[in-house]
Amino acid sequence: MKKIILFLPLITILIVSSFLLIFLLQKKDPNKPPSALLNENLPEFKIINLFDQTQVLTNSDIKEKIVLINFFASWCAPCKLEHPLFFDIKKQHPNLYLFGIGHKDKVIDALKYLNRDGNPYDYVGIDNTGLIGLDFGVFGLPETFLINSSGKIVYKYLGPLTKKIIKNEIQPLIQ
């Protein structure tokens, strides 16, 4: 009995450390840190339309809509991989507002890209300085955010979307 008491602090430390380690390693990929904006309100933004630079979109324009925001660029190879999937999402969910943001891209290059590969978005904004991306905490492309009708960010994905991710993670939040 005395021997067990002697080892009690060590046993306690080992148990607590094991629980901490399990908690820390749970579903955590260091390359994909969680978004600080998850479950927060959509940041205030004002973005110029890629096709008509006299037109501007702000938060109030997408109020009460379910919005899928996709940060892309013509120079981003993984963006090309997920691009066709946005046509499928739009087909399956016509009420979903698809909002593309050309991040750190030249207007002419973004236009060429969408003319060549098609434009699945309801609105395409251009963020050539990257400042809007900064407000969304964007640090790699592509990044996709789902906004609910209350204007809260309910989902964020870093990297190219796949059919599986759309089916398992995005669609349940849209329906």
């Binding site: 602090p9 430390i13 607590v16 840190p33 969680p34 978004s35 600080a36 904006l37 750190k104 990257g130 900064l134 407000d135 969304f136 905490g137 640090f139 790699g140």
Partner: protein, 128 residues
């Protein structure tokens, strides 16, 4: 003649003010550079492998450096700048965990363990 021209009153004052402002600007720039280094050494480059923003030349790090310089020029404090970045990128962007409710266990657990061990040690010594 040249000497007189340079040191007549208006010219002398002009040269003096230019010199003063050059020194002032250099001093401000040096301060900004020092603060930039101090802040960016605490920040993690999110697109690199365990590198500080100060050491990194990645696009992301260059953007953050630009923002930090802009904010320093607007006289924002180190705390304000770091909070601005945490709000957008989360605590992952700083190497040192923040002192807040969520991290209180992380900060104080080693001290709790140390105190418990000390108590245990004292009791053992007393017993012996």
């Amino acid at each position: 003649m040249k000497f007189n021209l340079l040191f007549n009153k208006p010219s002398f004052l002009l040269v003096l003010s230019i010199l003063f402002f050059t020194l002032l600007i250099n001093n401000v720039n040096a301060n900004i550079e020092d603060n930039l280094k101090k802040i960016t050494l605490k920040l993690r480059c999110m697109t690199c492998q365990n590198q500080t923003i100060y050491d990194s030349e990645a696009d992301f790090s260059l953007d953050i450096k630009k923002i930090v310089i802009q904010k320093l020029q607007n006289n924002e404090t180190e705390k304000e700048i770091i909070n601005f970045l945490i709000q957008r990128y989360g605590e992952y962007i700083v190497f040192e965990p923040q002192m807040n409710k969520q991290n209180i266990f992380l900060w104080f657990f080693p001290f709790v363990i140390m105190a418990l061990s000390l108590v245990f040690l004292i009791l053992r010594i007393k017993k012996n």
